[in-house]
């Protein structure tokens, strides 16, 4: 190898060597959904004694948190608040229980103002045309212990699809302040947002959306009963 060739080849070899190593990046593991929420704060595993009744959902203690994956990096969430609805629980015949909920999309917040505006427009929920989402159960069955399986129809933007909620009964007792029979449930499910006409940017932003619900509901005030 003469000097000229060498002086040409050495930089080339160095460049190749550097180029070969340059793309090395920290390993990029496959995207993974956030660890599923354990029933945070859920107090005990003791058997919950169901109390039959018609319970009115308390919007101030009801959250529907939707969580998705953003490019594999983060798992942001949005809350559907101001939920209104009714839970009927039949302790003697769980299958006769039911739930019906309305979620006004005015109660949707992603915690980022620009993104809230985007979620409301025609790219996503088209809130001007479809101001509410709804859920109406079609079957309720016991799933052992304090668990229920609630199947129902979820309607978003006039798209109705069946959804199965894995439900945990948190408790039935008199509310210490309201002095009314009260109950609370947590529930989870996973849906594909593209089924409901809100599939923009999938799959980079995951089509799968994990839903975590908590709700508290009390029987109507005695005055209301008397009036009725």
């Amino acid at each position: 190898m003469n000097t000229t060739t060498k002086t040409l080849l050495l930089p080339l070899a160095l460049t190749l060597a550097l180029a070969a190593c340059k793309p090395a990046e920290p390993p990029a593991p496959a995207a993974e959904a956030a660890p599923a929420a354990q029933e945070a704060g859920a107090p005990v595993e003791a058997q919950v004694e169901g109390v039959s009744g018609t319970y009115i959902i308390d919007p101030n203690h009801t959250n529907v948190l939707a969580q998705w994956n953003h490019f594999g990096f983060s798992n942001p969430s949005a809350n559907f608040g101001q939920a209104a609805g009714t839970i009927v629980y039949d302790a003697d015949n769980v299958a006769a229980s039911s739930v019906e909920v309305t979620l006004p999309l005015s109660g949707l917040t992603s915690f980022v103002a620009d993104f809230d505006a985007h979620l409301s427009n025609a790219d996503f929920f088209d809130v001007a045309t479809f101001p509410v989402a709804t859920f109406k159960s079609t079957s309720v069955e016991s799933a052992g212990g304090n668990k229920l399986k609630v199947t129902g129809d979820l309607t978003i933007k006039d798209n109705t699809h069946p959804v199965v909620l894995d439900v945990t009964m948190n408790g039935f007792a008199e509310h210490p302040m309201l002095k009314r029979a009260t109950t609370g449930f947590d529930a989870t499910t996973t849906i594909k947002r593209s089924d409901f006409g809100v599939g923009a940017f999938a799959p980079n932003v995951s089509d799968e959306v994990h839903l975590r619900i908590t709700t508290e509901a009390s029987v109507a005030a005695p005055e209301a009963d008397a009036a009725g």
Binding site: T3, H70, S74
Partner: protein
């Protein structure tokens, strides 16, 4: 010997780049639009409501080759607190709870970072709320590190969980009917200032 000289230079270049590729700690800036701290508690045993701490700012240093050299530092402005119920938000910012007028931000600063298995980390640090500092350990999952598909900047994302006792931070009002234990779930995405090169 010209020939071995060339080989030596090539070998050194390879060795240098091999080290450079993995060893350098990378500094990332947290993206507040893709970072959330969600706090969840038990309300009278009935429901498990949440509040959301947003507008989080801070820096993450991650060193894949020397994990203990990693660190995280964030500030959480209480103006970004949203418990989904307007009146409750006001109450949370009042002197009954966060005293946001006097203590407008909470903060977290890591004191140690260690590997805890595949893509898992244990991040110990100091959480400051209302001027009260307590140690907290975060169980962290590294979701992904790589170039962001939109702007190619090196990007990293983590989820983390921990549980705190709110009474330790002067936020104990209403316990135990409203649980003292608050479960924290964090997700964050952070980008380096610019693509290397």
């Amino acid at each position: 010997m010209p020939r071995s000289w060339a080989r030596l230079a090539l070998g050194m270049a390879l060795a240098a780049c091999a080290t450079a590729a993995v060893a350098a700690p990378v500094a990332y800036r947290i993206d507040p639009a893709h970072t959330e701290v969600i706090a969840q508690w038990s309300h009278l045993g009935f429901s498990n409501p949440t509040a959301h701490f947003g507008q989080v700012e801070g820096a993450i240093v991650y060193d894949a080759d020397d994990v203990p050299a990693s660190s995280v530092e964030v500030t959480i402005p209480l103006s970004g607190l949203n418990a989904h119920v307007a009146r409750f938000d006001e109450h949370l910012r009042s002197a009954d709870f966060f005293e946001a007028a006097t203590f407008p931000v909470a903060s977290f600063r890591s004191t140690s970072v260690e590997a805890a298995g595949d893509r898992r980390l244990k991040v110990a640090g100091e959480l400051t709320i209302k001027g009260i500092i307590r140690p907290v350990v975060l169980d962290v999952v590294l979701n992904k590190a790589g170039p962001h598909p939109r702007n190619s900047r090196p990007t990293i994302g983590f989820d983390a969980t921990t549980t705190v006792l709110r009474s330790e931070f002067g936020l104990g009002r209403g316990t135990p009917a409203v649980s003292d234990e608050v479960k924290i779930r964090i997700t964050t995405e952070a980008q380096a200032e610019a693509a290397p090169n």
